[in-house]
C-alpha cells in the first residue's frame, strides 16, 4: 500500500491578515506558518495510523512550494511518513497546483489524501482535480476512512447527514474532522524527521487558468449594538425592523 499525503503551508489561524504591493500580495511579515490543519490533523494522521496497522504501508508527503516550505514539511515528517517530495514551484491556480501533484500521484500510489480545504485559499479543489487528472474516484469531505485490503469504506458528509460508501483503490479522498484525531510530534519523531529523505523535483509545464489580481479586506464592522438584558424585546425589535433577520 502506497499513500500520498498532500501537505500545504498556511498562515496560522490567528495570523493578522494584511496585504502589500498595492493589495496584490499577502503580507508575510510576522506571520507564523503552520501545516494546513486539515492536512495535518486528519489526512496525515490517518495515513500514519494505516501504516501503524500495516507496517508494509509506505507514506509519502507531497508539497508544492519553494525552499521556505521545508521547515513545515519537516514538521509534518516529525509526525510520521517515510519521505517527502517538494515540487519546486509556486502558484495560486488550483489547476496548476493539482497538475503538479498529479504528476507525482501517477507514480503507483493506491491512495491520495488531501485536507478538505486549505485555510488560506478555501478552494476545496485540489483533491477533485487530482482525482480527475489520474482518473480515480474521489470522495470529498470524508469523516471516516477504513481500509480492508484494497477496498476502502468511507463516510462522507452530505447536507444534513452522512453517506457511507465502498470503493476499490486507487482513490483520492479529502479528509476532515472525524477521520483522525490531532497528534503532537514527540522528540523521537522530530529527531527522525531530520534525516528522512526530502526530494526536490522540478515542476511540469502547465498553464495556469486563473490568476489572483488583488486582495481586499472586508469593511470593518460598525461595532456591536448592546441591548440591556432587562430589555430583550428591544433586541427582537432590532432584529426584525433594522436587521430584517427574523
Amino acid at each position: 500500500m502506497k499513500i500520498l499525503v498532500c501537505v500545504s503551508k498556511t498562515p496560522d489561524t490567528t495570523s493578522k491578515i494584511a496585504f502589500t504591493d498595492g493589495n496584490s500580495k499577502f503580507d508575510e511579515s510576522g506571520v507564523q506558518w503552520i501545516i494546513n490543519p486539515y492536512d495535518e490533523w486528519y489526512s496525515l494522521v490517518r495515513a500514519i495510523e494505516l501504516k501503524e496497522k500495516d507496517p508494509a504501508t509506505v507514506v509519502h508527503l507531497v508539497t508544492v512550494g519553494g525552499a521556505d516550505v521545508e521547515p513545515i514539511i519537516r514538521k509534518a515528517l516529525a509526525l510520521g511518513g517515510d519521505e517527502a517530495i517538494r515540487i519546486n514551484t509556486d502558484g495560486s491556480d488550483p489547476y496548476f497546483i493539482a497538475s503538479q501533484i498529479a504528476a507525482i500521484a501517477k507514480d503507483g500510489y493506491d491512495l491520495v489524501f488531501t485536507g478538505k480545504e486549505t485555510i488560506d485559499y478555501n478552494g476545496s479543489s485540489i483533491g477533485g482535480m487530482v482525482a480527475e487528472l489520474i482518473d480515480a474516484p474521489y470522495i470529498s469531505l470524508a469523516t471516516k476512512f477504513e481500509l480492508n485490503g484494497n477496498t476502502a469504506t468511507v463516510s462522507r458528509e452530505i447536507e444534513g447527514g452522512e453517506e457511507v460508501a465502498e470503493l476499490a483503490l486507487p482513490a483520492v479522498v479529502s479528509c476532515q474532522k472525524g477521520v483522525a484525531e490531532q497528534r503532537i510530534p514527540n522528540m523521537r519523531g522530530i529527531m527522525a524527521a531530520r534525516t528522512k529523505p526530502l526530494k526536490v523535483v522540478e515542476p511540469v509545464a502547465v498553464d495556469a487558468l486563473t490568476t489572483v489580481v488583488s486582495f481586499e479586506l472586508p469593511p470593518a464592522k460598525a461595532g456591536v449594538k448592546l441591548v440591556s438584558p432587562d430589555n430583550v424585546g428591544e433586541l427582537v425589535r432590532l432584529l426584525h425592523e433594522e436587521a430584517k433577520a427574523i
Partner: protein, 320 residues
C-alpha cells in the same frame, strides 16, 4: 455562448442553494448579454418548468438512475458533456457539498479555470474577474479566469434569491453515463432537523451553558425561530452535543442570515466558521468576550435568564 447553472437535488427535491445559483447565473447571463440555462441530473419530483421563475429559459435534464447518487467521477463526465452539448461558456455551481465534489473535476475535463467559493457577480468590464472569500472569510481575493470556459462555484447564502414569473422548457439530454465505481451502502440523515449549512438562522451554544442538561432553553429558542442548532468545539469534544453540530475552523462553516451565539467566547477558530454570517448576535455574561467585537448585536447577561426571555419576546412578535 450561454451560462449553464448546475441545479443540485437530493431525493428528487431541488436544494435551496440551487435557487440561489439560478438567480446568480441568470443575472450573470444578463450581464454578459446571453441566456441562462439549467442542468439537473437524475430523477426529480419537483416541477422543473418552475425553474423559469429564477430566470432560466431551458432546463437540461439527464435522467438516469445512476445519477440519483452523487459520484463525482460519473457526474463530472456527464456535466462536461452537457456543457459541450449546450454550448455554454460559463458554468455555475453552488460551493456546497456537491459543488465541492464535482466542480474541480469538471474544470479539469474542460480545461476551464475555476473560482471556488465566489461571493459576488464577476466583474466583466475588462476580462472576467471573480471575487472569492479567502483566509476563512477574513479577506477576499479578486481572481481573473483566463480560459475560454469559466467555472464559478458560489458560496451558499452569498447572493439573494429572487423568484419572479416564468416557465422553463425541459429538454432531455441524452448523455452516456458510466457505471459508478463507488457503492453507497448507507445514507444516515439526521431526520427532523434543519441541515446546518442550509439554515437561514443558526442558534449556537458554548461552554457558558455549563452542561448538556441545560440545552433546553437553546432548543426552545431554535424551535421558535425555525433555526438549526450548532455548538462550539469544546461542547462537541465533550459530547454535550453531536459532533456534526460543531461550527468553526475545523468543524462546519456556516453563513446564515442570523447567527445567535450563546455562551460562546468567540475564539478566532470559532469565528473562522461563522464570520460569513450576515447578522451575528452574541449573548454572553462576560463583557470582555472577544465575540462581541465580531457581533452586530449583543446582550451582556446571564444566558439562563436572557434566552428564555428572548424566546418569549419572539413569540410575542410573531403573534402580532
Amino acid at each position: 455562448m450561454s451560462v449553464l447553472i448546475f441545479v443540485d437535488q437530493s431525493e428528487g427535491h431541488i436544494k435551496k442553494a440551487s435557487y440561489e445559483v439560478l438567480t446568480y447565473g441568470a443575472k450573470l447571463a444578463e450581464q454578459l448579454g446571453t441566456v441562462a440555462e439549467a442542468l439537473v441530473l437524475g430523477s426529480v419530483s419537483d416541477d422543473l418548468t418552475a425553474l423559469g421563475k429564477y430566470g432560466v429559459k431551458k432546463v437540461h435534464q439527464v435522467n438516469n438512475d445512476t445519477l440519483n447518487h452523487l459520484d463525482a467521477q460519473v457526474y463530472a463526465k456527464v456535466i462536461a458533456e452537457a456543457v459541450t452539448a449546450s454550448g455554454a461558456n460559463v458554468l455555475v455551481f453552488s460551493h456546497n457539498h456537491t459543488g465541492k465534489a464535482v466542480a474541480a473535476r469538471v474544470a479539469v475535463r474542460l480545461k476551464a479555470g475555476l473560482v471556488a467559493g465566489a461571493c459576488a457577480l464577476p466583474d466583466t468590464t475588462n476580462g472576467f474577474v471573480v471575487k472569492k472569500t479567502v483566509f476563512s472569510g477574513k479577506a477576499f481575493a479578486n481572481v481573473s479566469i483566463t480560459s475560454a470556459i469559466k467555472i464559478i462555484s458560489l458560496n451558499p447564502n452569498s447572493y439573494t434569491t429572487i423568484a419572479g414569473e416564468g416557465s422553463a422548457e425541459v429538454n432531455q439530454l441524452s448523455v452516456a453515463v458510466d457505471a459508478s465505481k463507488v457503492k453507497v451502502t448507507a445514507v444516515n440523515k439526521v431526520s427532523g432537523e434543519i441541515p446546518l449549512t442550509e439554515a437561514e438562522i443558526v442558534v449556537s451554544g458554548g461552554r457558558g451553558l455549563k452542561g448538556p442538561e441545560n440545552w433546553g432553553i437553546l432548543l426552545n429558542l431554535a424551535k421558535e425561530l425555525g433555526a438549526a442548532t450548532a455548538c462550539s468545539r469544546p461542547v462537541g469534544d465533550a459530547h454535550w452535543r453531536p459532533h456534526h453540530e460543531h461550527v468553526g475552523q475545523t468543524g462546519v462553516q456556516v453563513a446564515p442570515n442570523l447567527y445567535i451565539a450563546i455562551g460562546i467566547s468567540g475564539a478566532i477558530q470559532h469565528l473562522a466558521g461563522v464570520n460569513r454570517s450576515k447578522v451575528i448576535v452574541v449573548i454572553n455574561k462576560d463583557p470582555e468576550a472577544p465575540f462581541f467585537k465580531a457581533a452586530d448585536y449583543g446582550i451582556v447577561g446571564d444566558a439562563f435568564e436572557v434566552v428564555p426571555k428572548l424566546t418569549e419576546e419572539i413569540k410575542k412578535m410573531k403573534a402580532k
